[in-house]
């Protein structure tokens, strides 16, 4: 495959079977989004956010882009902004890992930190304030931008259908809700019998960082009607499955992958014998090595220790 620039090398990721982790009578496949140019599924989203804004005249040449992001979206936007000529500001919690800060800085992004104790809600709040104060910036806002689910509707799901036409169920993690909404909608249009499951990460207490429930947030792009169920996965289960994935299938993935895989294994029993399930792996494990998630030792202890910094 030859591409003229990095933005064209996004997508067409491998769909890889898991012969050892699939329960008897089911076949689980992982869609390895870590194979995208900047190493995550967010390359698809970043390209869609920029190209839709260009298409609708919301983004002028050289205009600054501002986005709240806990990491992958920022890294993907930063790389694309480099080749497309847009300056970028990323708003992220102050306790973002060094790997991410260095990657973003290397790609030329400007970093603004929101209070660590406010979690990703804090990044959203700060980014909105900055965007309101500066009319010259464009904030794509992946949590509320239809270009986010559109990326999965137009690319992720069609790739799955092409590679596995008899897919019976799809599982992805809930962050912005873009993946389950966009890919789920397309898969159900293809075959209304396809089941769509969301894996809800059960973050450490720190991540919630709310003073009251009114500070909670449901992303506008999340369409609950596409979901057949939402299942929460705690850090211990997600980490256990992530480590088993490396140990038994030779795949090194981030912890969100373990969460979706745990849900995929759980829902196999609800599907007809012989069903094929696709779980989406949003990224590889490289960016999380410094968290200690993959260090030798007792999984329960590790999960407890890093519950607040584990998720992507």
């Amino acid at each position: 495959m030859r591409f003229e620039d990095v933005s064209q090398a996004i997508g067409n990721t491998p769909l890889v079977g898991l012969p050892h982790l699939s329960p008897p009578g089911s076949r689980i496949y992982l869609k390895l989004e870590g194979d995208n140019p900047t190493g995550s599924v967010k390359d698809r989203v970043a390209r869609s956010l920029i190209e839709q804004a260009e298409k609708h005249g919301q983004l002028a040449p050289g205009q600054r882009i501002l986005e709240p992001t806990s990491g992958n979206t920022g890294i993907a936007l930063a790389a694309l902004c480099r080749v497309k000529g847009y300056p970028l500001t990323c708003v992220m919690p102050a306790n973002t890992s060094e790997e991410r800060k260095q990657l973003l800085t290397m790609f030329g992004a400007e970093l603004v930190y929101s209070p660590a104790e406010e979690g990703s809600n804090g990044s959203v709040r700060v980014a909105r304030e900055l965007a309101e104060a500066d009319p010259d910036v464009h904030m794509p806002f992946q949590y509320g931008n239809p270009a986010n689910p559109l990326a999965h509707y137009e690319t992720t799901a069609p790739e799955i259908i092409a590679d596995l036409p008899d897919v019976a169920a799809f599982v992805a993690g809930l962050g912005t809700g873009g993946t389950v909404t966009g890919a789920g909608r397309r898969l159900k249009e293809w075959n209304p019998d396809v089941k769509v499951f969301a894996a809800e990460p059960e973050y450490g207490d720190l991540v919630y960082g709310l003073r009251n429930l009114d500070e909670g947030y449901v992303p506008e792009v999340l369409d609950l009607d596409v979901l057949d169920s939402r299942i929460k996965v705690d850090s211990r289960k997600a980490l256990t499955m992530t480590r088993r994935l490396a140990d038994e299938e030779g795949i090194f993935a981030g912890v969100s992958t373990g969460a979706s895989l745990a849900v995929a294994v759980r829902v196999c029993a609800r599907l007809p014998e012989g069903s094929s399930i696709v779980a989406l792996s949003p990224d590889g494990g490289w960016k999380y090595l410094s968290t200690g998630a993959y260090a030798p030792g007792d999984v329960d202890e590790i999960a407890d220790r890093i519950a607040g910094t584990l998720w992507a």
């Binding site: 992001t69 806990s70 990491g71 979206t73 919690p93 306790n95 973002t96 890992s97 991410r100 660590a116 979690g119 990703s120 809600n121 990044s123 959203v124 949590y143 993690g173 809930l174 962050g175 912005t176 809700g177 809800e200 990460p201 059960e202 973050y203 207490d205 720190l206 991540v207 919630y208 709310l210 003073r211 009251n212 429930l213 009114d214 909670g216 947030y217 449901v218 992303p219 609950l224 979901l227 057949d228 169920s229 939402r230 299942i231 929460k232 996965v233 999380y288 968290t291 607040g308 910094t309 584990l310 998720w311 992507a312």
Partner: protein, 92 residues
């Protein structure tokens, strides 16, 4: 008895308790007893008799909105978890 997990943000209404054992055969019955013991929770959990939008409730890890809502059955050794809705993504 089912155990209800209380998120940090609501613990000021439960005297700091993170886990409470409550009887009841449905989420509604469990929450009624919970609210009777800790009246401050009522406004936090309910709006016009329905669960508030920023509250997610899971019985044995499954979101009750996709089962039977407040009528979702609760078995004696089930865990009922109350979780605030937050924007996705981590602090890592």
């Amino acid at each position: 008895m089912p155990v209800v997990r209380i998120p940090t943000v609501l613990r000021r209404h439960t005297d700091g308790e993170a886990k409470l054992s409550v009887t009841g055969g449905t989420v509604r019955e469990v929450f009624d007893e919970l609210v009777a013991a800790h009246p401050g929770l009522e406004d936090q959990l309910f709006e016009d008799g329905d669960l508030r939008g920023f509250v997610n409730v899971f019985v044995e890890d499954e979101d009750i909105r996709f089962i039977s809502g407040l009528d979702t059955p609760v078995e004696p050794d089930d865990e009922v978890a109350i979780m605030p809705a937050v924007a996705g993504g981590a602090v890592s």
